[in-house]
Symmetry: C2
Subunit: 163 residues, 2 copies
């Protein structure tokens, strides 16, 4: 059973679906506030050291992830669709202002369906070819994206304080 | 003097600006109606044999251009922003539904500023690197994009009939 409003392609897409016991507006807040996102967006002991959000189509979404040995990765892209409490689409194939990026990799859909204190949470990573999907899977998509949802829920339940 | 709402990069972008003597709503109609677009969108004797438009962010923008010797090129991408009579942004770096494309090349901005019977017409082709910009320039960006504006104006003035 999927809540997706479009058909995914198992050869090209990775999908994570969860039912979580936090209200949808808090999930939206956790995803769209740099100071909040830093606390849950990558699996510990990795951490997000910088985060920049300009929440509109074409606006920047940038983060720097730092590993336990000091290695750093920058992710930069832009938002494509912003529908509060419902849908957030962003991609690294386009830089802010929609300029084509040097190393395009994926587009992500975050789809939220709130129901009181609970939220149906669906994340889709959409790739252009099977190699990119496999690379993302090998990087630990399912564990990684699942872990950060758990981290996010704990962070929200702690009143947006690090746990 | 530019009417652009953002700063372009001369190393990466190509810009065409024209003042044309047709009303902005007709320019919008010419750009967003497949049956109209076919008649002016590539420099004659090349022609557009197929055109598909789903005028919303993430919706398809596809055309097939055919040369005088029967050679065909398909362009496929999606719209990013749709603001009637003002702004149309599309890219070939993303397929419909925002899936990353195999051969990303550019993002285009069409910016319109209507004033009665006249329109300030600005087209920007935005690239990810200097090679892509140069390739587009060598393909004849300035002549080609300029020629099709002239064709479009003639087509509009003829009451949306081929001239």
């Amino acid at each position: 059973m999927t809540s997706l409003p479009f058909k995914t392609d198992p050869k090209l897409d990775l999908v994570l679906e969860r039912n979580i016991d936090v209200p949808v507006d808090l999930v939206w807040k956790a995803w769209t506030t740099p100071e909040h996102l830093k606390h849950w967006f990558c699996p510990k002991p990795w951490m997000v050291t910088e985060c920049e959000i300009d929440l509109r189509p074409g606006g920047i979404f940038r983060s720097i992830m730092r590993g336990p040995e000091g290695q750093e990765f920058e992710n930069i892209g832009c938002y494509l669709e912003v529908v509060p409490n419902k849908k957030l689409v962003f991609t690294d194939t386009l830089l802010p202002g929609y300029r084509p990026a040097a190393n395009p990799f994926f587009t992500a859909y975050l789809l939220l369906d709130g129901n009181g204190e609970r939220t149906r949470y669906t994340a889709v990573a959409m790739h252009g070819n099977e190699d990119a999907r496999k690379k993302h899977e090998d990087m630990g998509f399912h564990d990684g994206w699942g872990t950060v949802v758990t981290q996010m829920v704990a962070f929200i339940k702690a009143g947006f304080k690090p746990t």
